[in-house]
Assembly symmetry: C2
C-alpha cells in the first residue's frame, strides 16, 4: 500500500563531536521517506527553493519515492543549523532559516489522492489538519509535532489531534502536551485527545507504544521497543523521523493493523532509527538492503527477548 | 544457595508528590535483602544504633533474612532525608546523618562464611574490598557504588572493582566513572576495569547488561530489560537496590550463571524494582507472593516480546 507524507525537505548544517557537515540534505519528510521506502510506496508533499538541485531530488527518486508533490518555489530552501554536545539526545539550534517553508501551503497532487496511509510530519498544526481533512479516505493517519506548536498553537493542535490515529512524540513533548510529569500518566491523557495509540520515543532508551482501550484489537496495553546501544552515534539528526518512517512504512506493508503488527512496527521503527544515526545526515538510509534491515531486526530481538 | 549483603540499614525521611514519611525503614541492604529473600537465603552485614527497634528487625527476620551480622552500636542509626520533585529519577538530598554508619567496620559472623554469593552494596570502596578479600571462596561478587565514591576515592574504587564480577550502577555513574558521555562506550571501559558484566540501570527506562567477551558463556553482547510504565510512582527510593536484590537473588537460586540466566535475572531485577516504587519505603516488598512476582514477570515479557 502507499503512504503520503507531508513535511519538510530541507538543508541541515550539523556539528557533532565527530565532525561537521554544511548544507546536507535533511528535513523530517526526507528521513521519513527514505526509511519508509524499504517497506512501501512513498509519496512526498513538501516545498523546496531554487537551490534544491536535481542531484538532491535523485536521492529520493532513486529509492522509488514519488516527488511530484514537492513544490519548487522561488527562493531558498529551509535551512536548519544545529550542534550536538555531550547530550546527543538534544540538539542546540544555531539557526532556523525557514525561507520558502515559511509560507508552505501543501498541495496534494491528484495522483496522491488514493494514498492508503498518511503521515503528518512536524509542521504547523493548522496545515496538518487541512491535509488530513482533504484526505478523508485514508486508512490510518500518523502524526508528529513539537514543543513550539504545543506552546504557541495549542488550540489548533488539539483540533489536529482529533484526526490523528497514531501520534509519535518524545518524552518531553508528551509531558508538555499534558502538563503531567509522569510519562505513563501523560500517555493516558494524550489518548483522550483523539489518538487511538501513542508512540513515545525515548531516544537512546527506545520507545513505548500505549494503546487506547479497544483500539487495534486487544492484547497488551503497552509495548516497549529498545534502541540499539550504539557506541558511535555520529549524528542523531533525523533519528525520530526515521523511526516514524520505519514504523509507518511497515504498517503500510501489512494487510491489517493489529496490536501484534504494531509491536513489530515498533521494532522496525527502532531499526531504521538506529541506521540513521550511524552516519551524518540520511546517508546510511540511502543504500540499505532488506537483508541488512532484517539482520538488525533480529539483533533487536536478541537484545530484548528471553528466548 | 545463600547470598551475603553488606550495606546500609537505615532510616529514611522521604517526601514525594504523594505525601511524606518520617523515619521509616530504609537503606540499600534493607531493600536488597527483602527483594532477594523471595529467591534465596539472605544474610545481612550492617550496623544500626540504639534506636533500631526489634519491630524493625522483624521486618527482615519475618522474611527469613539472617540478621546476625547486623551490629547494634551505641548511638543513632544512619538517617537519610530526601525529596522527589517532578523528576522522580533523582532525589534531592535534604540531610545525611551518618551516625553509627560513619565508623562502620563490617564484621562477618562465622556462620556467614560459607555464603555462595556476595553483594557489596553502596559503601566505602575500601570496606567493600576488605569484605570481598575476606570472602575468597564466593562464587560470584556483585557490587554497587555512587558518584561520591567515584569522585572522592577513585583509586580505592578501582582496586575494589578488580574483585567485582558484576557491577550494578546507573547511567550517570557509568559516565562519571569513565569520563565518557556515551553509555555503550562507557560500558566497554568499565568492563576493562575488572567486572565481567556490567548492569546499567536507566530508571524508568529499564536496564541494560553488557557482557565482557567470553564471560558467562557466549551469546548476546548486551541485553535490555524494561521497566514497567507505572502511573503512580509513590516513592522511587530503593528501586535500584531492589533491582539488585531481585537480580542477585535470582542468580543465587540457579545452578549455574550463564548469559541466559543473566537475562532472566535482569527481568527479575526489573520486577522487584517495580514493586518497590508502588508504596513508600520497602512496604510493598514485605508481603509479596511468588505468584505475584511471576505474574509481573509475565507482564514484563508481554511488554517486550513480539510473540
Amino acid at each position: 500500500m502507499s503512504i503520503m507524507v507531508v513535511g519538510s525537505v530541507a538543508f541541515d548544517t550539523i556539528k557533532s563531536q565527530f565532525g561537521e557537515r554544511h548544507k546536507i540534505l535533511g528535513g523530517a519528510a526526507t528521513y521519513f521517506s527514505l526509511a519508509a521506502s524499504y517497506f512501501t510506496q512513498v509519496r512526498v508533499v513538501a516545498v523546496v527553493g531554487d537551490d534544491f538541485t536535481p542531484e538532491l531530488e535523485a536521492v529520493l527518486t532513486s529509492r522509488g519515492i514519488d516527488v511530484r508533490g514537492i513544490e519548487h518555489a522561488p527562493g531558498k530552501t529551509f535551512h536548519w543549523g544545529g550542534e550536538y554536545g555531550d547530550n546527543l539526545n538534544e540538539a542546540q539550534t544555531k539557526f532556523t532559516d525557514l525561507n520558502v517553508f515559511e509560507n508552505f501551503q501543501p498541495r496534494i497532487p491528484d495522483v496522491y489522492r488514493d494514498s492508503d496511509y498518511l503521515f503528518l510530519a512536524n509542521i504547523q498544526p493548522v496545515l496538518q489538519k487541512q491535509v488530513r481533512d482533504s484526505m478523508p479516505d485514508v486508512k490510518l493517519v500518523g502524526g508528529d509535532t513539537m514543543n513550539y506548536w504545543i506552546n504557541s498553537t495549542r488550540p489548533a493542535l488539539m483540533e489536529t489531534l482529533k484526526g490523528v490515529d497514531i501520534l509519535l512524540i518524545n518524552d518531553t513533548e508528551a509531558k508538555m502536551l499534558t502538563g503531567d510529569s509522569s510519562v505513563p500518566r501523560a500517555a493516558n491523557k494524550v489518548l483522550e485527545m483523539g489518538p487511538r495509540a501513542l508512540v513515545i520515543k525515548h531516544g537512546e532508551y527506545g520507545a513505548t507504544i500505549f494503546f487506547k482501550d479497544g483500539s487495534y484489537g486487544t492484547g497488551v496495553k503497552a509495548f516497549r521497543a529498545p534502541a540499539l546501544p550504539i557506541e558511535e552515534v555520529f549524528d542523531p539528526t533525523g533519528a525520530g523521523d526515521s523511526f516514524g518512517g520505519g514504523f509507518m512504512g511497515y504498517l503500510a506493508s501489512q494487510k491489517q493493523v493489529t496490536r501484534e503488527v504494531l509491536k513489530h512496527a515498533m521494532f522496525y521503527g527502532g531499526v531504521m532509527g538506529s541506521f540513521a544515526v550511524e552516519r551524518f545526515g540520511p546517508e546510511r538510509l540511502q543504500n540499505l538492503t532488506r537483508a541488512e534491515i532484517d539482520e538488525r531486526f533480529n539483533l533487536f530481538r536478541s537484545l530484548t527477548h528471553l528466548e
